[in-house]
């Protein structure tokens, strides 16, 4: 699990039977983003797309303005540390169409990723939080000051190698 590379994920998505929602999602996105490598997986019951970080911003703009998915609300943003890379999950929700979709984006730790806080205001604090916990830089974000941690905190507590119990008790 921890070291699963991207292509393995793709294989999984191609071999297993796809649910109708995911197929619909796939056809729409593949017809729009022709020269981008996209992989499609189900996150639990949510059709999701794994997108390279270069085209993340365009995809987000497309999904927000698209009439089928109309994802006006960024419901959740989560970073997951897979040791080699960090996967950032965007859960988008459309209030009008009542549908949820997910976007996954894998980022290496020494890379930057484009911000989506100009698309959804909600991303502002989420990105600061992920920056705190994983040290991912978001390009174009206005204020990357620590949100949950105090100024001057060293390390990134979200990462797997951050120690748990190294405090002393009275």
């Amino acid at each position: 699990m921890a070291n699963k590379p991207d292509d393995a994920l793709e294989e999984v998505s191609q071999t297993t039977e796809l649910s109708p929602e995911l197929i619909q999602f796939k056809t729409l996105l593949e017809s729009t983003f022709i020269d981008v490598e996209l992989a499609f997986v189900m996150t639990d019951q949510i059709p999701s797309v794994v997108v390279p970080k270069e085209s993340l911003h365009d995809l987000c703009v497309f999904l927000k303005t698209n009439s089928v998915y109309d994802s006006k609300m960024l419901s959740c943003m989560a970073g997951v540390d897979y040791v080699d890379y960090c996967q950032i999950l965007y859960i988008l929700y459309s209030v009008e169409n009542n549908c949820t979709i997910g976007i996954k984006c894998n980022v290496e730790y020494d890379c930057k990723i484009q911000t989506v806080s100009d698309i959804w205001k909600a991303a502002d604090w989420y990105e600061r939080e992920i920056h705190d916990l994983y040290g991912i830089e978001f390009e174009g974000h206005e204020d990357m000051s620590p949100l949950l941690l105090y100024d001057g905190f060293e390390g990134h507590p979200g990462k797997r190698d951050f120690p748990f119990y190294n405090y002393e008790e009275y």
Binding site: A2, T43, D44, I91, G102, K121, A122, L147, L148
Partner: protein, 372 residues
């Protein structure tokens, strides 16, 4: 003389509100830039209560994490336990018995009332009325005593288990809930009668802290804050979880998206919760509530789930990644208060200093959940 006038230019004042301010609802800090009594800009600071619950849960076994969820939104413990249990149950691909689900719904809705009652009291305190807070605690205390007789604790219950409940409810559970309903209804009325349509309260909250529907969605507001702006979005209705599809209830919706509408939505929601409890207690099925897992170690297969539910404060989401061990690989909570609070900058601009506490109160944040 001219020199003097140039020197005497007015500058904005920085006012630091919190973390020890009585009306910031916990350890929340705002840097207000004010011109006289008008707020020009605000910079919120959170994280004073950051306990790293998400990180801690990576080191805890699945059944221990329930205690951490109790302490996130410490005013809606049952609702938090429910969403976590649902997430793990989805991961294990199991379903609790119907009786379990009904009891869970009853307790969650009671907890929603308790949480909203506290809200009504605190918004009264923020607006300067002292009595509603004390009246609301009467009703809240009744509900908590009921909780104590069921789960053994007034706040940190740890009562929902993965796949079931910790133990069967007491024998007189149905009678207790039925007895408490009219009393709670009276308590709610008594509390909100002092506020909801009071003229001074209306003038303090109507058209204050307006957030339009588009902005509210953009900022990811959920729960009463979003419904106050006129959007009919409730997870219990849009994607019914547990057994909410069995019940007939309305989702109260505001119109203007101001503080008063958010208040009104909450007051109405309490009555809707009472309706749900009435139906649930009538339909309460027999059966077993013990978890089929027993005392076995919970070790779900690899996978990830995203589960959401409607908390008193809004939509709570749990993203759970399992790597097949007895501890989750990653647990991410989408806290409703966190998103609701992120709109504070927009809401406070060009309002009065006195309104800032009312607006903050109407968002009904719980810092334990914002910071986690």
């Amino acid at each position: 003389m001219m020199q003097d006038q140039q020197d005497n230019q007015t500058i904005d004042m920085m006012l630091n509100m919190g973390p020890q301010h009585p009306s910031t609802h916990g350890v929340f800090r705002m840097e207000l830039r004010i011109d006289g009594e008008k707020i020009i800009d605000v910079k919120p600071h959170i994280g004073y209560l950051h306990r790293g619950s998400e990180k801690l849960s990576e080191g805890e076994q699945y059944h221990q994490i329930i205690t951490l969820f109790d302490r996130m939104d410490y005013l809606a413990n049952f609702n938090n336990e429910l969403v976590y249990c649902m997430a793990v149950e989805r991961l294990l691909d199991m379903e609790p018995s119907k009786r379990t689900e009904y009891i869970r719904v009853i307790l969650c809705e009671l907890n929603r009332i308790a949480s909203h009652l506290l809200y009504v009291g605190t918004i009264g305190l923020d607006a300067g009325a002292m009595t509603p807070a004390l009246f609301s605690f009467i009703g809240r205390d009744r509900i908590q005593t009921l909780f104590e007789s069921i789960s053994g604790a007034r706040m940190m219950h740890n009562y929902f288990k993965i796949g079931g409940l910790k133990q069967e409810v007491p024998d007189d559970f149905v009678r207790m809930v039925k007895d408490i309903m009219p009393v709670i209804r009276r308590d709610i009325d008594q509390t909100e009668k002092l506020l909801t349509f009071n003229e001074i309260f209306l003038s303090r909250t109507k058209d204050i802290g307006v957030i339009t529907a588009e902005q509210a969605i953009d900022y990811g507001l959920t729960g009463p804050c979003l419904r106050g702006s006129g959007i009919n979005y409730d997870v219990r209705k849009s994607e019914p979880y547990s057994v909410y599809q069995d019940f007939d209830f309305d989702v109260p919706v505001g119109l203007d998206g101001d503080c008063w509408d958010r208040h009104w939505v909450r007051v109405k929601e309490m009555h809707e919760s009472l309706r749900i409890i009435e139906q649930a207690i009538d339909k309460l099925p027999d059966g077993d509530v013990a978890s089929p897992l027993g005392r076995r170690l919970i070790r779900p297969s690899e996978g990830e789930v995203y589960v959401k539910a409607e908390n008193p404060r809004g939509e709570i989401g749990v993203y759970l990644v399992s790597d097949g061990t007895d501890k989750p690989y990653r647990l991410k909570v989408r806290p409703p208060s966190f998103c609701n609070l992120s709109a504070i900058q927009l809401l406070l601009q060009n309002s009065w200093v006195a309104d800032s506490v009312v607006i903050l109160g109407s968002l009904d944040i719980v810092l334990g959940e914002v910071d986690r």
